[in-house]
């Protein structure tokens, strides 16, 4: 491959729109006389012009790359890599971007709309899309990918005072970000397997990656990302709701660019995953299912933009299925499958052109008549002749009729699907017959909804009195963009091979780099006329015949849609999932978060005892060494009996006073233990502290309510008993076994030896407290002081807190 030295680091161009976005608010606020869109218009136009200069390089099979380091230590860089596929998408983004901005200048009202925000979001989106299609680094690819989700979220919710806009924005956000995160998982798995973030290096390693254990998981995660973004079944549900966005946004994001990011992803990763049968089955199968589903439900819609949304879903499925079929060329040498990839790219370009135009027409109709409801529209042809012409061109191209570009790609699609039958691997020979049948039925429906869209709107009787506005032709500025797109649609039909040579073949080469030496080696010549022997021709004639029949009988078969109850729709499923997860999680947290400290203590103690007893059992750590115990003395055992009796009294005492006194008994018998075990300092301290704390208890006692059961039932008491017993058993076991196995000798010998010589003292305890470990003591008295301050604070502040309440009265 040939590289070309480019003076400008063109990776920076990705950021040009977002840098320009910083200036937009100034232009909006300061320059009131000129529509802000005119300034923004320059950006995609300049970029489009610049990127055109890459055409000659890419036509020769070359590529250009440019790098901007971001996190070198992790190998993350903004790498812009332009080959056929990237350039195709870049030209789509900048080209249609220019037209959409031009259209929006006339569509968005300068006075009523917040244009500053609108163009900022749009420019952020443009950067994000350029980044997605040019990034060679998977991490930055993911970064830009999420940026498209976020900017799309902002654009869908642009009229944020409407509930439906916010709902649609949130829905698209949830679904696309879910997919984005799955895709991140795929990228991480790929980087683990291939030890690189670079897509090109991953592609170079493709043969080794196939045998890696995570390969299939990475494949599925990546497809989840692509399917959610490209609105494939069953994730397409966000796209119809995203139609609440302003029409230029729908035209740009939701027909020509963002929804094709998933297509781009599939195409870009085909060299890695294409050899897998899972990939071929999933991409082709889901694509066809989406194609059928979208085209079938498009006729049900009554909103112009909803029809177009379902049609977009369906067409994206078509492109997806072609990409899946194209991957077969890794297994079969039949030229037909290389043909499928070519058809995919071809249709992608066509779709961007006619769908962009159709959306703009839908926006014009909305703008000029005040409604998008197809039931209220009709007979607009004589009033809006130019819009009608453009709509007709777009729709007929969408339906696949000559002399429009859609005819060529649709015919190629049908032929590829027919060819699938001859593929003999992966059960295609048995199931393969399904593909052309589904594809053909879907094409019939596509034809039907295309007619439905254009004829119901522009033909039929005039119902102008029901419209909110008196319809008239749109201003010429608004018509320029759709007219240009319609021209392209016709032009491509007559010069398909020029487009093929300049754009499509380099893109195909990027998708299947191992199959061709250079773009001119791709031996595909598109012809409009294949003679009467061609399968595609007869299929197309069938589509036209049955499609017309279906259109004429719409009222007869429309009740078919009522078979599927609303409750079983995917949208309902999404809503139920959202509601259910919120409710379910609420219920789960309400189940265990009772707000009662008793319950939480129960969890902690139960967990503690169970885990530690289990640990002792698993590690076989319980040991009792009888030899390590000292002799049992008479005083010791008597005192122990007193202690146990007092503890029992505390637990079973009926009155609080008795419990406090018994607690004092416990404390004093512990002090006696200290005496017996020769700890005079501890005994002294324990005696005094016990006295003080009993006194404090008695002080508090006066103000406490009578002992109540706190609503404890017998069952709770039994649970408490079990948990407390298990904690007791746990502590006993741990104490016994830790006493029996001392791994390290005590350091007390050192203290004993040096207490006189080093510390000049006779009381080891005291010397340890103030000298060896005075630091601990320092903070213990700090704790004491803080406790004192806290007690005072609690008492004093409680008084002052009442005051503001009084003021409120």
């Amino acid at each position: 491959m040939v590289g070309r030295r480019i003076l400008l680091e063109f990776v920076l161009l990705i950021f040009l729109p977002v840098i320009f976005a910083i200036l937009v608010p100034f232009a909006y606020k300061k320059i009131k006389g000129i529509h802000t869109g005119w300034f923004v218009f320059l950006v995609p136009l300049v970029l489009f012009g610049y990127y055109l200069s890459f055409l000659p390089l890419v036509m020769d099979g070359g590529h250009a790359s440019s790098e901007l380091n971001w996190i070198p230590s992790l190998g993350i860089a903004f790498t812009s890599y332009i080959d056929g596929l990237s350039l195709l998408f870049t030209l789509l983004i900048t080209g249609i971007g220019s037209l959409v901005v031009l259209y929006s200048v006339f569509y968005m009202d300068r006075e009523k709309e917040d244009l500053g925000s609108f163009y900022v979001y749009l420019l952020i989106f443009m950067t994000a899309m350029l980044g997605v299609v040019q990034s060679d680094n998977t991490m930055t690819l993911y970064l830009f990918w999420e940026l498209t989700s976020i900017s799309s979220f902002l654009l869908i919710g642009f009229w944020y005072t409407k509930d439906k806009s916010r709902f649609g924005a949130l829905k698209s956000m949830m679904i696309t970000v879910f997919g984005g995160l799955m895709m991140l998982g795929a990228f991480i798995l790929l980087s683990i397997m291939g030890e690189t973030f670079s897509v090109r290096e991953l592609i170079a390693q493709a043969p080794e990656l196939v045998s890696q254990p995570y390969f299939t998981l990475a494949l599925i995660l990546l497809l989840l990302g692509a399917f959610t973004k490209s609105a494939q079944f069953p994730f397409y549900i966000w796209l119809p709701d995203a139609m609440e966005a302003p029409t230029p946004v729908s035209a740009y994001l939701h027909s020509a660019t963002m929804v094709k990011a998933g297509i781009y992803l599939v195409a870009r990763f085909t060299p890695i995953f294409g050899t897998s049968s899972t990939w071929i089955w999933l991409v082709t199968g889901i694509g066809l299912l989406t194609l059928f589903w979208g085209s079938f439900f498009a006729v049900k819609q009554t909103d112009l933009k909803a029809i177009l949304a379902f049609s977009t879903v369906s067409q994206l499925g078509l492109i997806m299925s072609l990409l899946g079929a194209g991957a077969i060329s890794y297994h079969a040498t039949a030229a037909m499958f290389g043909f499928a990839t070519y058809a995919a790219i071809f249709h992608l370009i066509n779709h961007a052109a006619f769908k962009g135009g159709l959306f703009m027409i839908a926006g014009i109709i909305d703008h000029e008549t005040g409604t998008r409801d197809i039931r209220k529209l009709g007979g607009l042809m004589s009033v809006m002749p130019i819009s009608f012409t453009v709509a007709a061109i777009g729709s007929l191209s969408m339906a696949g009729l000559p002399p429009f570009s859609g005819f060529l790609s649709k015919e190629m699609f049908l032929e590829s699907m027919v060819a699938l039958r001859h593929f003999e691997l992966f059960n295609f020979d048995t199931w393969g017959i399904m593909f052309p049948i589904v594809a053909w039925i879907a094409s019939v429906f596509t034809f039907t909804y295309s007619l439905y869209f254009v004829l119901k709107t522009f033909m039929g009787q005039k119902k102008f009195d029901k419209l909110p506005k008196q319809p008239h032709e749109a201003p010429i500025g608004m018509l320029i963009s759709p007219m240009i797109l319609a021209t392209i649609v016709i032009l491509v039909f007559f010069i398909p091979n020029v487009v093929g040579k300049w754009i499509i073949k380099p893109a195909v080469m990027a998708i299947q780099p191992t199959l061709y030496a250079n773009p001119s080696a791709i031996d595909i010549h598109v012809k409009a006329w294949h003679g009467f022997g061609a399968v595609g021709l007869w299929l197309t004639i069938g589509v036209i015949a049955f499609g017309t029949l279906l259109y004429l009988t719409i009222p007869k078969w429309q009740p078919l849609y009522r078979i599927q109850p609303d409750k079983l729709s995917l949208n309902e499923g999404y809503d139920a999932l959202m509601r259910g997860s919120e409710k379910g999680l609420n219920r789960v947290s309400r189940l265990y978060m009772t707000g009662k400290i008793r319950t939480y203590l129960l969890y902690m103690f139960a967990f503690m005892s169970v885990s530690i007893i289990a640990l002792l059992f698993i590690k076989d750590a319980f040991v009792v060494d009888m030899n390590s115990f000292s002799a049992i003395t008479l005083y010791g055992s008597l005192n122990a009996i007193v202690l146990i009796l007092s503890v029992g009294f505390v637990v079973f005492a009926k009155s609080r006073l008795a419990a406090i006194i018994a607690l004092g008994g416990v404390g004093y018998s512990v002090a006696l233990f200290f005496v017996i075990f020769k700890a005079p300092d501890l005994a002294l301290t324990q005696l005094v502290i016990e006295t003080v704390s009993v006194a404090l208890f008695l002080l508090a006692f006066k103000h406490l309510p009578a002992l109540s059961s706190h609503g404890e039932t017998k069952r709770i008491k039994v649970v408490n008993l079990i948990v407390s017993l298990s904690v007791g058993v746990m502590v006993t076991l741990v104490a016994l076994s830790s006493h029996s196995q001392k791994m390290i000798p005590s350091i007390s010998k050192y203290y004993k030896d040096t207490v006189e010589s080093e510390a000049a003292g006779g009381n080891i305890v005291n010397v340890i407290l103030v000298d060896y470990r005075g630091f601990d003591t320092l903070f213990e008295i700090a704790v004491l002081a803080i406790a004192g301050i806290a007690v005072l604070g609690m008492i004093r502040l409680r008084v002052s807190r009442k005051e503001p309440n009084d003021e409120n009265k």
Binding site: P680, D681, L684, T685, V688, I689, T691, V692, A695, L696, L699, A700, K702, H703, A759, A760, G761, G762, N763, V765, N766, V767, L769, V770, D771, G774, F775, T777, L778, I781, A782, L784, A785, A787, G788, I789, V791, L792, I795
Partner: protein, 141 residues
């Protein structure tokens, strides 16, 4: 019924000083025999608690013109101060040292910086215990 606490008050007048002496004894003896700052401080505070029990708070306040919160603060300050002092002499924080000094009445006596530290502990304990008990009992009233 009029309260007559003459016996209690008279006994307290004597016992108070005995307890104080015992507290100081415990505090001073701590380094070589059972006792020390903590116990000393507790015993001292118990003497004051006794006073508060027998007389009313106003009367004791008049007799003891110092704020126990400040006593506690002074205690912490003393304890930290001895640690800081060792830093001034280039030793690690809280390094203690002793000197043998020939005092006029006590004869040859060992004096150490740990006594100052212990005094800090004792004053903190005294101050905090009395503050807590006073605070709560004032609230009770």
């Amino acid at each position: 019924m009029k309260k007559n606490d003459v016996i209690l008050q008279t006994v307290t007048k004597i016992v108070f000083f005995i307890i104080l002496t015992f507290g100081v004894e415990l505090f001073l003896a701590g380094h070589n025999s059972p006792g020390g700052g903590f116990i000393g401080g507790l015993v001292l505070s118990s003497a004051f608690v006794l006073l508060y029990l027998v007389y009313d708070i106003e009367t004791v306040h008049r007799g003891t013109p110092f704020d126990f919160k400040r006593v506690a603060a002074l205690g912490v300050l003393l304890a930290v101060g001895t640690g800081m002092l060792s830093i001034v002499f280039g030793e690690p924080f809280l390094t203690q040292t002793t000197w043998l000094v020939d005092l006029p009445v006590f004869g040859e006596t060992e004096l150490g910086t740990m006594t100052i530290f212990e005094a800090g502990v004792a004053l903190t304990v005294l101050g905090v215990v009395v503050t807590i008990i006073l605070g709560i009992s004032e609230d009770v009233e």
